[in-house]
């Protein structure tokens, strides 16, 4: 007894299950491949609903001082301005309205002028909550750096895994990363969720999480390879996945709990951002269990290489 009285926890995870995960790997590969192809198709046909960060244009959030916004009136007066596509959307409370104006012809000044027109038209009945105006030069740069950030992050993570583990693991990890990124992107395309700078951050975080999961399993595979030298690879992979499954699931659950709290209480501004991470955690957990690790079987791994490598921890034989 130290600081708090002793009380035992509840080991709720059914450890004896030993799920035959490797047996379903073809099915999982098939489903994932299909999902990836569909995502790719969606991205190329439907594209993304890019936010002002990447597409340029303006986003204005206002709150009606009366508490209730007259959307139809707003719509007719704003479309009359001739600013091209104007999206008007009610968010959160009845008085909160989000207005999006597409990028205007011309240079940076044209965006400012358009936003000013909208603000002048809205008049005094509305309180200004948020204004984001991004000109064509900046949006192009943000698009570029966003893309570079994701690619460089993937490469850096992959290089780290390659450095710490055998190359087969790094390939498994990289495929897993591509899988998660592609399918999440596909979901964003399918539901036309707003894709902005924050989503890029969420993407990177979600890739970090997915890697986390894969590394935990990979670590165990490596350990078991030293421990059970004669065990067939398929069986060994299955064992390793199962042994780490309780951790994978429990961590997934605690992370999801926090993310759900963020999505419910965190407010409108970060909702898409959190949704991306939420989806990413689910798909990342799936991919590290069902894709990255089983993939190692196909790539094969030299068991004797394990012995040559200087072992960090002494091999334990029970």
């Amino acid at each position: 007894m130290f600081l708090v009285p002793d009380f035992k926890g509840h080991d709720i995870f059914p450890h004896h299950l030993n799920l035959p995960i490797m047996r379903y790997k073809e099915l999982c590969f098939g489903i994932s491949l299909l999902l990836m192809v569909i995502s790719l198709g969606l991205i190329f046909t439907k594209g993304f609903n890019l936010g002002v960060d990447f597409k340029g244009g303006s986003l204005i959030e206002v709150r009606a001082k009366s508490g209730e916004a007259d959307l139809s009136d707003m719509r007719s007066s704003l479309t009359a301005l001739g600013l091209g596509s104007v999206q008007i959307q009610n968010i959160g409370a009845a008085g909160d309205v989000l207005i999006r104006i597409e990028q205007q012809e011309g240079e940076e000044e044209a965006q400012q002028a358009a936003a000013k027109k909208v603000l002048d038209t809205l008049g005094d009945g509305y309180e200004l909550r948020r204004v984001e105006i991004v000109g064509p030069a900046v949006s192009g740069e943000l698009r570029m750096t966003g893309l570079i950030a994701v690619i460089v992050a993937c490469i850096a993570i992959w290089a780290y895994v390659w450095f710490r583990f055998e190359w087969q693991f790094s390939v498994g990890v990289l495929v897993g990363l591509a899988h998660d990124a592609l399918i999440t992107a596909g979901v964003f395309s399918l539901f036309q969720l707003q894709f902005d700078l924050g989503i890029v951050a969420a993407f990177l975080a979600m890739l970090g999480y997915s890697i986390n999961d894969s590394i935990v399993v990979a670590d165990r595979i490596r350990e078991n390879m030293r421990k059970y030298k004669k065990m067939p690879l398929t069986e060994l992979l299955n064992l390793s996945i199962n042994e780490t499954l309780s951790r994978t699931v429990l961590t997934g659950v605690t992370t999801l709990v926090v993310l759900i709290s963020l999505i419910v209480f965190g407010g409108e501004v970060i909702r898409n951002f959190v949704f991306c991470m939420l989806f990413g955690v689910i798909i990342g957990t799936y991919s590290s269990v069902f894709i990255s690790s089983p993939l190692i079987e196909y790539l094969g791994i030299r068991r004797d290489a394990m012995d040559e490598a200087p072992a960090k921890a002494p091999a334990q034989t029970s």
């Binding site: 007894m1 200004l128 204004v131």
Partner: protein, 545 residues
């Protein structure tokens, strides 16, 4: 893994204590903190504009404007150089990105070339060896034509100077607007970021920095009218300036023919204040020249009584009064259809000096104070609810050791706040999300350890051995997984901007503190528990997990 030397325990406790000390200011208001004794840290995490509300403007310097200004000045220099060398020229004009000089006699080309070469100036840093010429002089395709073109190196040099000069000017203008702690910093090579907290209507701010405010006083051509000058060609040394006057103003003209070289320029002003005209009650601006400005203006008005002169702002005539008497005192007033606000703005602009070039707003992000407050509240509520839910799950699953994990989490949260306060890292809304994510990762480390302990117990290890192995085996895994996330975090910080950066800061700092909290602090607690239990029960202990 479970043995701690005394100095290590002291170090861990000291870290926690310092963390507590540096995190403390965040829980008190600025007024309370001001009353604290000086040895206590009093710096709280600065809140990002998305949380406290405010304006964020990214400005870019207009390169075309800089080039145009340069070429205009170069034209004067070229004229003078050729005149001094007594070489006749028929025209000097700006064509595209270069200045074109057309000589009267093509055989003068060599002499003119040599004369114009003297305008070239070496620029750059001689110590670093990055030197070059600011302009390039070359012979044109036709005989008798010489081109002067600013080099890209020279333009870059000008751009850098213009950027730093603009930052100073904007700083003066923005500071004149109010007392808020605004920030004007360079971003990249030719961008300027202005951050002004607590402002939701940015129009005044934009008006204030959107105008170059180059003021000059010019002589008006006594006979040639604008119409004549536009149909034929303005007299040498004169130019047509458009007017910004209103049509119902007395003596309104749509354009004026003015001497191109000004009598006095805005640089010579020492003060400018908004005021009201004593007769018409209209807003005006009163100004005062410095000594040399006063002398030039005095001399000019003395010799031109009864003639009009023009006040030009950013290449537009704002008014053209007639000189009634010599103005010798060096002070005067400008009238010209001002509103109270615009007179106030112009006075600030004149006091702060002109911008070297036009600035365009390339990005604007403004958050009203009410949304900022809502975001803080929502972010905090989400963090608290998430933490409580996670705490319940952790304690339910891992019992007493779960409580230790939670204590580790508290230390983690405190240390992040302390680190961010100490280095002055800004907390943003994505930053809160990043913080929440690191909590999940810190818990992950504990889950890894405890699941491993359970596994070892199931495998038949002794309780002590199980804890020992659990911490040791889980540690490399934790390190690998956290380091990869740190890699992602660093890249986000390096490449990212705005929201990505705020997220990356808390994520990266959080990884460092979460390893310390989840691994070191929790391990210490478990080790203490073990020591206590051994003392009480000898070898027959059961881990409460």
């Amino acid at each position: 893994m479970l043995h701690f030397e005394r100095w290590k325990i002291v170090l861990i406790l000291l870290t926690c204590f310092l963390g507590f000390l540096f995190a403390l200011p965040n829980f008190f208001s600025a007024e309370t903190r001001a009353k604290w004794p000086g040895f206590l840290p009093s710096r709280a995490m600065p809140l990002g504009l998305d949380l406290q509300g405010g304006a964020h403007l990214l400005l870019a310097i207009d390169q075309k404007d800089i080039r145009h200004d340069w070429l205009t000045n170069l034209r004067e220099d070229a004229r003078r150089a050729l005149r001094d060398a007594k070489i006749g020229f028929s025209a000097i004009g700006i064509s595209g990105e270069a200045l074109q000089v057309r000589l009267v006699k093509p055989e003068d080309t060599d002499a003119a070339y040599d004369a114009l070469r003297k305008l070239v100036q070496p620029i750059g840093n001689q110590i670093l060896g990055t030197t070059g010429d600011d302009i390039e002089v070359r012979r044109g395709a036709e005989p008798g034509v010489i081109l002067l073109q600013p080099t890209s190196f020279g333009l870059r040099e000008r751009l850098i100077h213009a950027t730093s000069a603009s930052i100073e000017t904007i700083n003066r203008r923005v500071n004149a607007m109010g007392t808020a702690e605004s920030e004007v910093v360079q971003q990249g090579r030719d961008r300027i970021l202005v951050q002004y907290p607590g402002l939701s209507d940015t129009q005044q701010l934009k008006d204030l920095i959107g105008q170059t405010a180059k003021l000059s006083f010019h002589a008006v051509h006594p006979t040639v009218t604008a119409e004549e000058a536009q149909t034929t060609r303005p007299p040498v040394g004169y130019r047509v300036y458009q007017s910004a006057e209103r049509e119902d103003d007395p003596g309104y003209q749509s354009a004026y023919v003015l001497q191109e070289v000004p009598v006095v320029q805005g640089d010579d002003l020492v003060d400018a204040q908004p005021a009201f005209d004593s007769q018409t009650n209209a807003p005006i601006i009163t100004f005062r020249f410095n000594q040399s400005g006063a002398r030039k203006f005095g001399n000019f008005t003395k010799t031109h009584v009864g003639e009009p002169f023009a006040i030009v702002l950013d290449d537009k005539v704002i008014s053209a009064p007639v000189i009634r008497e010599a103005i010798l005192g060096g002070s005067g007033q400008i009238s010209g259809n001002f509103s109270v606000d615009s007179a106030n703005n112009l006075a600030i602009q004149l006091r702060s000096g002109a911008l070297p070039a036009k600035l365009t707003i390339v990005e604007e992000r403004t958050v009203g104070p009410s949304l900022g407050a809502d975001s803080i509240e929502a972010g905090m509520r989400a963090a608290v609810v998430g933490l409580i839910a996670m705490g319940i799950i952790t304690v339910y699953i891992y019992g007493t050791f779960g409580v230790y994990a939670l204590i580790g989490l508290l230390v983690h949260g405190m240390l992040i706040a302390a680190l961010m306060s100490a280095v002055g890292a800004t907390l943003t809304l994505p930053g809160i999300a990043g913080f929440v994510l690191t909590i999940a990762m810190a818990v992950d480390a504990n889950v890894l350890i405890y699941e491993r302990v359970r596994e070892e117990i199931r495998a038949g290890k002794t309780q002590v051995m199980a804890i020992e192995t659990g911490f040791r085996r889980a540690f490399t895994t934790i390190l690998d997984s956290q380091l990869t996330t740190l890699v992602a975090g660093m890249i986000m910080f390096w490449l990212g901007s705005g929201p990505i950066r705020g997220f990356a800061v808390t994520l990266s700092l959080g990884i460092l503190t979460s390893v310390f909290a989840a691994v070191t602090v929790t391990r210490l607690l478990c080790a203490m528990w073990l020591k206590n239990a051994k003392a009480a029960k000898g070898r027959h202990i059961a881990i409460p997990i």
